[in-house]
């Protein structure tokens, strides 16, 4: 299978700090790839390199190749179009202080879509895709800030979907949510991977085991192990991976 992202020899310096060391990974399409590891291991930093959110921080120096469908995202693409193709969902639900409809329509509008009919269609599809349509269809004009935390997070997923990406990056998308909302998001991920490629950072090992196809274990900026999820959780090759997933540290 042709990989979606092909990352090779990626090094990232944050000022003096060497945050990612020679990271090489290929991320396959229509799969959920989980990135796990203790806090500060570089998994979130790595995630952000995939859609160049690191550009917004100062003092970040990147070296190496990140290819999306064979094109180097740092050399052959611009950040704006890249981010429209590679959507992102954040740790804290962060809807804009606008109506539910306006939140979802924001991405398509950025891309110049003005037709009301077209926008309505995109918004509905995105909200359906994020399994929140039934809950909000009667209050599309109401402020998004009135939704519960779990609904807000699904709205943020819908907002990302509406921009028409083919990859979704999720940075601990359930860490701020209650168990019921969490399971809804997890179900959603399994559903979404039919159409999208998902890369998810998670703190929760069970979550990684439940929903991901492939898992990468990060430690101190390095990828220690990257393999099939089932295999990694049943018989890890590296001692450090085993220690981490059995809860001996981290």
């Amino acid at each position: 299978m042709e990989s979606k992202f092909e990352v090779s020899k990626l090094n990232l310096h944050y000022g003096q700090f060497h945050a990612l060391k020679d990271v090489s990974l290929s991320i396959l399409p229509h799969e959920v790839t989980a990135l796990i590891g203790p806090s500060g291991c570089g998994k979130s930093t790595f995630l952000k390199t995939l859609n160049r959110m690191n550009d917004l921080e100062e003092g970040v120096v990147i070296d190496g190749d990140v290819l999306l469908d064979g094109k180097d995202v740092y050399k052959e693409m611009d950040a704006i179009s890249l981010r429209q193709r590679v959507g992102m969902v954040f740790q804290q639900p962060n809807p804009f202080p606008k109506s539910i409809y306006e939140n979802v329509a924001y991405g398509p509008k950025l891309q110049g879509i003005r037709s009301k009919v077209k926008l309505d269609e995109i918004v509905e599809n995105a909200l359906r895709g994020a399994a929140i349509w039934d809950e909000v269809k009667d209050r599309l004009k109401k402020s998004a800030l009135g939704l519960s935390g779990g609904q807000q997070q699904r709205l943020c997923i819908a907002r990302a979907l509406a921009a028409g990406p083919d990859v979704l990056l999720m940075d601990e998308p359930t860490s701020a949510l209650d168990p019921i909302s969490t399971s809804k998001i997890e179900e959603l991920c399994t559903e979404l991977k039919k159409d999208y490629t998902i890369v998810m950072v998670t703190h929760n090992m069970q979550q990684a085991a439940r929903i991901s196809d492939r898992t990468a274990f990060f430690l101190l900026g390095e990828v220690i192990e990257y393999s099939d999820t089932d295999q990694m959780f049943s018989m890890p090759k590296d001692k450090r991976t085993e220690d981490y997933i059995t809860g001996r540290f981290g």
Binding site: D78, I80, S81, Q84, L110, Q111, G112, I113
Partner: protein, 292 residues
């Protein structure tokens, strides 16, 4: 993708506009300062510094004297009001009303305060223009700044300070006096210096209180005499008022040069105070933090 191209172009244009506006403004500000100071220096003659009818020495002295008098009134009252709000006031109608009062005072046009001062300190007392009534009027303008600075500083103190002191058996007042106020001093002092800087430039509130004449005899040290420099109940024209006066009531041929020079002196004074407050505040913060 066409929309992206357009968006990026707009983004570039807007960025340039912001940079241009910011640059324009900094240039304007620098040009303004240079113009004022430059013109002051260009027209400078040594006699302008003299403490006579021709120079601005007397006005400069009046300005400083007025600042001192005004702070004498506004500092104790301002700090006390701030302490009251931060420490003693119970949440409720009176406290809420007091904050509204402070806000009202801080947004009063200074000419209105000047009129109030004129009515109460001059007309009702039956006095002539004098420095004390000018100082009182200016204190009203200063009061809100000092009170809010004190209140904010006290409220930002860590809870531990209060607990620590009270836990040792100190009374509330002892805690305020010996622990909280000293710890707040850097910020309060910064506020006071900023307030003083404002008094330097105040003119509208002094128009009908401190008056627009000055007649000082530097060999007269009888404090009850109207020409004694230190008599606070004599009329005292400040630098700012002098600039205003030289525009409207200019009868002297060198009025413009004098006003230029006065503006330069005033601007330098105000800048010095403002920068001084900043430097001092930062240094004292650092000292307190370093002592931890």
């Amino acid at each position: 993708m066409k929309a992206n191209e357009k968006a990026k172009r707009v983004d570039r244009v807007m960025t340039w506009i912001f940079v241009a506006v910011a640059g324009f403004f900094i240039l304007l500000l620098i040009a303004f300062a240079l113009l004022v100071i430059g013109r002051g220096i260009a027209g400078f003659e040594p006699y302008m510094l003299s403490f006579t009818r021709d120079g601005i020495g007397n006005q400069l002295f009046n300005t400083v004297y007025l600042v001192v008098l005004a702070l004498l009134f506004s500092v104790p009252l301002g700090i006390a009001t701030g302490v009251y709000l931060a420490e003693y006031a119970k949440p409720g109608k009176v406290t809420h009303f007091l904050s509204i009062c402070i806000e009202t005072l801080s947004s009063l046009p200074s000419i209105v305060v000047g009129l109030f001062g004129y009515l109460v300190f001059i007309v009702m007392v039956g006095a002539q223009w004098n420095l004390v009534s000018g100082a009182l009027a200016v204190s009203i303008l200063n009061l809100p700044l000092i009170a809010t600075t004190t209140k904010d500083a006290m409220e930002s103190m860590p809870k531990g300070y209060r607990m620590g002191s009270m836990g040792l058996g100190a009374t509330h007042w002892q805690t305020i006096r010996r622990v909280l106020l000293p710890a707040c001093m850097p910020r309060i002092l910064t506020g006071i210096i900023l307030a003083a800087g404002r008094v330097f430039g105040e003119a509208a509130a002094l128009l009908y209180t401190a008056g627009m004449s000055t007649d000082i005899n530097w060999s007269n040290w009888d404090i009850t005499s109207p020409t004694c420099p230190l008599n606070p109940f004599r009329p005292g024209e400040t630098l700012a008022l002098h600039i205003w006066a030289s525009r409207t009531e200019a009868i002297r041929p060198d009025a413009a040069q004098i006003a230029n020079f006065s503006s330069a002196v005033l601007l330098i004074l105000v800048f010095a105070f403002s920068i001084g407050a900043r430097v001092l505040g930062r240094r004292m913060e650092r000292k307190l933090a370093g002592g931890k």
